[in-house]
Amino acid sequence: MSPEHSLSSDLPGSVVTAIPTADDRSAPVVTRGLTKRFRHQVVVDAVDLKVPTGAVYGFLGPNGSGKTTTIRMLLGLIRPTAGEVDLLGAPMAGSGRRIDVSVLERVGALVEGPAFHPYLSGRANLRRLEAADPHADARSSDLRVDAALDRVGLLAAARKRYRAYSLGMRQRLAIASALLVPRDLLVLDEPTNGLDPQGTREVRHLVSDLAADGTTVLVSSHLLSEVEQMCSHVGVMYEGRLVAQQPLADLQAGTGATIRLRTTPDGAEAGRTAFASLGLTEPTSAQTGDGATVTAGLGATDLARVVPALVAVDVPVLGFEVVTPSLEDAFVALTGEGFEISG
């Protein structure tokens, strides 16, 4: 997992795992140097994605960071300016080649929100997509449409016109369309957008179920807590570049846990010294009410050694806490605090 190839060494904490080598070309999603330039603006800049088989890959990034453009290139909707896309081991797009979308029959997709014919029912809309699929078996069509509707809880509303659907129902219908035939790879762009808490939970369970069946899932989301709960891997986009791509656990570990000690005002200084001598990073103390809090990064220190060391130097331990960083902390560390959309 050593970063042999760092695309963005100027960014603090940027970690991009090595360029996919020849032997892992069969991973469900592999891109090499994927780049898209619209007029003079580089929207996606030399992205090397690699989504391992069976992974639930959380694709993160602030608005305008190039996620959707990348996803559109993965699905053959947009032609890359440079670089290549392999899906499920098949070369799909590359500069100078015609895009070969035949592999997409094994890929279910949800791109930039649901889009259906408003005056057709949910079922009729799915039948239309079914009919357009040259690989789908006509005989099992009705069965599969209803199974997909059932899977997202829309069977009761199947005959309603799409225009009467709520945003959540529309989102569910779009997910159903991705599940019309068994897929080896699902690309879901913001699947929980507009869903109520129950719907969000169901989508999470659905993704877990699909992953358990062996489907690889690439899911983009703004909801970091969602990603934290369902993903095994994460990739983070920032200003068109992939600034991190790791198993989720590694990304969180990279940011490191924080130790928080509550002690008496007198014990603060001794606690800080003890932390420093243990090798904890950046120990700081602060007065809080009638006590004091000493915090430090755990770094590589064995957690079990911390409290005995404090006790050995007679630091009163009134409270002791290990704070695991959230994905949000890691995300902000990679993409900055700024709220402005980067042009």
Binding site: R72, L75, G76, L77, I78, R79, R98, V101, S102, L104, E105, V107, A109, V111, E112, G113, P114, A115, F116, H117, P118, Y119, L120, R127, R128, L129, A131, A132, D133, P134, H135, A136, D137, A138, S140, R144, A174, S177, V181, P182, D184, G214
Partner: protein
Amino acid sequence: MAETEVLRVGSTARWLPGRFLVSELGLIFRRRRNVAGLGVLAVVPIILAIAVKTSGGGGGGPDFVSSIIGNGLFVAFAALTLELPLFLPLAVATIAGDAVAGEANLGTLRYLLTVPAGRTRLLVVKYAAIVIFAFAAVGLVALVGSVFGLALFGGGEMILFSGTTASFGDAVGRLLLTCAYLGCGLSALGALGLFVSTLTEQPIGATVAVVLVNLMMIICNAVEQLSWLHPWLLTHWWMAFGDLLRSPVVTADLQRGLWTFAAYAVVFWLLAWSRFTTKDVTS
């Protein structure tokens, strides 16, 4: 993935888009706007027949109209003539303009393409549907015209432009040939519409553009000084269907017309194809 295997057995990629075309036709002919449009097309021969009947005919008017009294089938010919400059092209332009731009506008285009329906295959289906619609529109006008004309004025033998008389069966055959000829002409306009539809995400814009091009061709065709241009205009050849009402049928213009229609259809379909298969779909 045993389940996967089972479902894929017997589903070898069928490129021929039969089901897709049926679905497309369902979208076109069930859409309320299009049904209303066809209704308007069908009303013209009815109005015409009733107007001629109540006024007792005579009074000149277009060639066909003055002949209606003699044979009800002429209502169909007259209605086609009246609808040819605007109504029929507008109907075809609506469908053709909607073909790609409409799907792009709704966002359904990206889902069709990720199915994957295939871009070339999609254009084949869209154009086939436009052609079927064009023939259906012409056929509808002819059918309604014939039914009302025959009901109000009766049938029997038809006096042709060449002065000779054709049996009723012969006349019906000539009407069918007329429908086929005009269907081809409007299909050529549909190819132009399909191309324009790949250029934009606004279906109405595409439709308006096609209607404007059509009117521009009619205007150019009316300007004597542009006579060198006339043989290249699609609309120039539409009225040649009158030659089908001579005995024997004068085929020179009809043939030239069919070649022109074919050239327009091929050129614009290929332009649409080269545009659409290389286009970034960002809608």
